[in-house]
């Protein structure tokens, strides 16, 4: 089985809670050493999926395989996975070292040996010498790293992370996610990462699986999802796009020419055919010029955010969200503007 160590497979997995179907049918394969993010709005089934993998929920139907072994009916304590919880779930009555050694001792390792391994685990996350403290004596970021160390010392086939950064402040979040990604690359374990924050998903993942209503809406590398969203939902969920109605006029050599809002714009064709379509336009792919133009609008509101300005622009196609990172002086509310498109950040949606 060493060849498939760390591989994860969901085969036709279904999960019902009473009369509510959380996951109708899920098929998903994760390669060894891959970091896969389950991304989606709350209630989309991403946490349920993770908990089924951990053994904290039992699927109603289907099979789950870890490392080639069917674990569908295996209780959580007998699965070769470990989990980092959203609340960290550090045992408040045990010291940091006891927390990290807990899983090793549960597995039957002698106390002394387990303490040694725990110390190494703490080294790994940069907390050497903190083993004697209680979790309540650590900062949020330190607690988070203890939770990671506690899961990692077991050398599981798969590491599960359930919104691991949601209790950290924004600045710390960026640093810790880089640390987690570095650890994963260095040690080469498989990781499944649940989050509702698309930026976090884009930053850490090998592959993102976007879920909606218990189904996979789209999966792919961060780049694929950002550049070619398969649906309006994906376009909006990943990187907040404006979705505009448009007309594909012609397709040639991988480039389609579309008419949108009085402008004519070349975009990557994907599988588009001439006819009515929808165009996802990133907020930073719209340019605003004071004055009149073919695609005209009026500034409905403007918010100055330091390094960029956010606008709501009223147009014939509805209200658009525009982000201008180059503005020196924000445009005034009520000003008339001409809208244009940049080359990147536009995608046709089937």
């Amino acid at each position: 089985m060493t060849g498939t160590r760390g591989a994860v497979t969901f085969e036709g997995v279904r999960k019902e809670f009473g009369s509510f179907t959380a996951i109708p049918e899920l098929d998903l394969a994760i390669a060894p050493g891959e970091l896969v993010t389950l991304l989606g709005p709350s209630g989309c089934g991403k946490t349920t999926t993770l908990r089924m993998l951990a053994g904290l929920e039992t699927p109603t139907a289907g099979r789950i395989l870890i490392g080639g072994q069917d674990v569908t009916r295996l209780p959580a304590d007998r699965r070769d996975v470990s989990m980092v919880f959203q609340s960290y779930a550090l045992f408040p009555h045990m010291s940091v070292a006891q927390n990290v050694a807990y899983g090793l001792e549960s597995g039957g390792m002698a106390r002394r040996e387990a303490r040694g391994a725990a110390e190494k685990g703490l080294d790994l996350v940069g907390l050497s010498g903190m083993g004697g403290r209680l979790p309540s004596e650590l900062s949020g970021g330190q607690q988070q790293r203890v939770a990671v160390a506690r899961a990692l010392v077991l050398e599981p086939q798969v590491l599960l992370l359930d919104e691991p950064l949601s209790n950290l402040d924004a600045r710390l979040r960026r640093r810790v996610r880089t640390e987690i990604r570095e650890l994963q690359q260095r040690l080469g374990f498989t990781a499944v990462y649940v989050t509702h924050d698309q930026e976090e998903a884009l930053a850490v993942s090998d592959r993102i699986v976007v879920m909606k209503d218990g189904r996979i809406a789209q999966q792919g590398t961060p780049r694929e999802l950002y550049d070619s969203p398969a649906s309006e939902f994906i376009a909006d969920f990943i990187g907040e796009a404006n979705v505009l109605p448009c007309e594909v006029e012609s397709v040639s050599g991988g480039t389609a020419t579309v008419a949108v809002g009085g402008l004519r714009q070349p975009v990557p064709a994907r599988e588009a055919a001439p006819g009515p379509a929808r165009l996802a336009v990133r907020a930073n792919a719209i340019t605003l010029t004071p004055g009149a133009g073919a695609f005209a609008g009026r500034i409905a509101s403007a918010a100055y955010l330091g390094d960029h300005v956010e606008y709501e622009v009223e147009t014939d196609l509805g209200r658009l969200f525009v982000l201008d990172a180059e503005a020196v002086e924000p445009l005034a509310t009520g000003a008339s503007v001409a809208l244009g498109f940049r080359a990147r950040g536009l995608a046709l949606i089937a």
Partner: protein, 734 residues
């Protein structure tokens, strides 16, 4: 998979041990005396189940056969394919043991119909160690089978725990109640008869409405009226106390809180006793009034008025305890919101605060109602000729009339009242559950009471608190006077008679109270940890595990809170006096009675404490490879220490003070303090009774005080740790 096999092997071994090694039937001298070991081979009453087959007990055959079938499954099929079979075998085994145990009694078949069909058979004793172990093995087979089928995430421990609890609750709560019902329909020889029920159910002494026309009402109506009055009174007074404690600037608020401890530590008839000595026919207040005014006050105290006053004194603190939580639970921001909308204090109180408290008031009312219905001690002392249901039940069993059918009917009526009240409250509450305490930090202070409410409420509370203190003072005082009401000279004689110790020849406990005192301590000490364990295990299952029927399970448990102690006592007598389970006259029946009577409180405490623990702590432990028992032991229990201590203390104290159920179950060998004191009261030995009660109260105060010190100390240390942590994190920026 090896683990599945090992688990199953253990269950099979257990079954084999029960069937082949241990004595199948009950041993008269007691199993744990181990006196039976010597005669194990020679005496056929001590033989194990397998040997019992041969003196013609053919109805035991299915049991070894089913165990063999399970063994066959174990040897031929892998775990994934035998689960269903194991469940069926286990269920069949338990079912069969139930059927044969109920069918074959001491002298053969229990029912004529069976005897006619199968011919006469030799009788059998009650189940003993062997049968109980075998039954547990069958239950274990069900659990193992379900786990192998992947039920409850394949956690055999959780399934086993649920199975064990269901088995215990069925045996010690449901079976007695059912036995009580059937007992009402049985003749002396056990055959069916409706005569007793027919005679009793229409008895005007129970249901008569004569008081409307100037005569006497039936005992059911009297009890009901009393319960309504007590519930109303205690709720109003409790609310008054709660409002004064939280919403006025009255000093001594801490002292008010101390009042809440009183009912827990007071043996139930003590207040009745004190009232008799004060207001009874020869009470000193009565004598004083009669002497100074020349009126004749007579026996007004004996009957409903006296019981009502005693119950008000006994149960107001309980209502206060419930309502102080309710009153504090009304979020100040609601009231502040109301005041900013130009409602004055009075309008705010009437339109916002009171309606928000309504569910809590209903809860306090229900508790008062049930406590009053279930109260046994006060009516026993003060009932006079007009008793209530609980005392009537008692006299139907122990009195000259000895009429078990009447006791069963009365107990059913009593149970009917309390359960209806419980269900009615649940229905009413269903729509009205205001969660007024949000998780968000609520600022603001509770609004003070409007002046026109504060004054009358304050006066009432002060008077009542003074009255309560006076009554308790009397109890202490009464132990030190010669003869209450006649001769008030100081004496230590009562204490000497009750608690004298002779040191001349080692320690000899010569006082009359010692025997029942040590029995009480022993039984309370055994029952307390069992109660806490069963209660907290149940709480853990209810809060943390999702299993089919969980809602019903929880509901049934909470409902058992509404079963009056008298009903439990009478039902235990009826259920456990004859095979298949025979325990009357033992210490075990007292212990089981306490465990299942006090369990609901342990469950409530456990549920409350466990709901505050982040569920991901359990899950983290599981995903770190710790099994459920290890999780429970290493993570949950250490974090629940205060709740465990509280459950321990509560069940210990309750085991000492309870009387209603106990009085049916005590025996000459195992007499409890309260039952002994009641005997003293009946003999008119008030002095010793009061001295003994005072000692009990002091013992319990010591226990509770020690517990407070323990927990308080713990919290202090935690706070220090947190302060230290705060300092350290400041030094080491993250």
């Amino acid at each position: 998979m090896i683990r599945d096999d090992r688990r199953l092997d253990f269950m099979l071994l257990l079954g084999a041990a029960g069937l082949v090694v241990l004595p199948w039937y009950r041993i008269r001298g007691g199993f744990f005396g181990f006196g039976w070991l010597g005669d194990w081979l020679s005496d056929d009453r001590l033989w194990p189940g397998l040997a019992q087959l041969f003196p013609d007990r053919w109805w035991l055959w299915p049991i070894p056969l089913l165990l063999l079938a399970a063994l066959a499954l174990r040897l031929t099929l892998p775990p994934s394919r035998r689960g269903r079979g194991l469940v069926l075998i286990g269920a069949a085994g338990l079912g069969w043991m139930l059927v044969e145990g109920l069918s074959v009694g001491l002298r053969g078949w229990n029912w004529g119909l069976l005897e006619a069909t199968f011919g006469e058979v030799e009788g059998q004793q009650a189940y003993g160690a062997g049968a109980i172990v075998t039954a547990l093995a069958f239950a274990g087979l069900i659990a193992a089978g379900l786990a192998e089928r992947g039920a409850l995430k394949g956690d055999a421990f959780v399934i086993g725990a649920i199975g064990l609890l269901v088995l215990l609750v069925a045996t010690f709560v449901l079976y007695p109640i059912v036995s009580m019902f059937t007992g009402a329909f049985q003749d002396y020889d056990g055959s069916f008869t409706a005569e007793g029920v027919a005679k009793n159910i229409g008895d005007p002494n129970i249901w008569g409405l004569g008081c409307l026309t100037g005569g006497r009402c039936g005992v059911a109506w009297r009890t009901f009226t009393l319960a309504i009055c007590t519930a109303t009174g205690t709720t109003l007074l409790g609310l008054a106390f709660a409002l004064v404690a939280t919403r006025t600037r009255v000093p001594f608020k801490k002292g008010l809180r101390l009042l809440t401890v009183l009912p827990i530590i007071t043996p139930p008839f003590v207040i009745g006793l004190a009232l008799t000595l004060m207001l009874g026919r020869a009470g000193f207040v009565t004598t004083f009034i009669e002497d100074t005014t020349g009126w004749t006050l007579g026996r007004w105290l004996y009957g409903l008025p006296g019981i009502w006053i005693a119950q008000m004194l006994s149960f107001t603190p309980i209502a206060f305890l419930v309502l102080i939580g309710v009153v504090e639970g009304v979020s100040p921001s609601m009231e502040e919101a109301s005041q900013t909308m130009r409602a004055g204090r009075w309008r705010t109180f009437r339109k916002v605060s009171l309606p928000l408290m309504a569910p809590g008031l209903a809860n306090a009312f229900l508790i008062g109602f049930i406590e009053s219905m279930a109260d046994f001690g006060n009516p026993l002392v003060l009932g006079g000729s007009g008793g209530v249901l609980s005392t009537e039940i008692f006299f139907a069993v122990v009195g000259a009339q000895h009429d078990p059918a009447r006791a069963a009917v009365l107990a059913t009526v009593l149970l009917g009242f309390t359960l209806s009240a419980f269900l009615a409250q649940r229905l009413w509450l269903g729509r009205r559950n205001f969660a007024t305490v949000s998780g968000k930090g609520d600022g603001g202070r509770p609004a003070l009471l409007p002046r026109r409410v504060a004054w009358p409420v304050g006066v009432v509370v002060a008077l009542w608190a003074a009255f309560t203190l006076f009554v308790y003072g009397l109890i202490l005082f009464g132990g030190f006077v010669q003869t209450w009401g006649l001769d008030h000279s100081f004496t230590l004689e009562h204490y000497a008679r009750a608690f004298s110790v002779d040191l001349s020849d080692g320690i000899a406990w010569t006082g009359v109270a010692w025997k029942s005192f040590w029995t009480t301590m022993e039984i309370a000490l055994i029952a307390a940890p069992l109660t806490a364990a069963v209660g907290l295990l149940t709480a853990w299952l209810i809060v943390r595990q999702r299993f089919p029927g969980r809602g019903i399970f929880e509901f049934a448990l909470m409902m058992s809170f509404a079963i009056p102690g008298t009903v439990i006592g009478i039902s235990y007598v009826m259920a456990f006096n004859l095979p298949p389970i025979q325990m009357t006259g033992t210490a075990a029946i007292l212990i089981f009675c306490f465990v299942f009577r006090n369990m609901p409180v342990g469950v409530r405490g456990g549920v409350a404490a466990m709901s505050q623990l982040d569920p991901s702590l359990d899950e983290a432990s599981l995903t770190l490879g710790a099994s459920s028992p290890r999780t429970l032991r290493r993570v949950i229990l250490p974090l629940l220490r205060p709740a465990i201590l509280a459950a321990l203390v509560y069940s210990f104290v309750r085991a000492i003070t309870s009387i209603s159920a106990v009085i049916f179950l005590v025996s000459a060998k195992y007499n409890m303090a309260t039952a002994y004191i009641v005997g003293l009261v009946e003999n008119g030995e008030y002095g010793i009774a009061i001295a003994y009660s005072s000692v009990l109260i002091l013992v319990m105060i010591a226990v509770i005080g020690g517990f407070q010190l323990l927990v308080g100390d713990r919290q202090l240390r935690r706070r220090e740790a947190r302060a230290a942590a705060a300092r350290r994190t400041e030094e080491v920026p993250a």
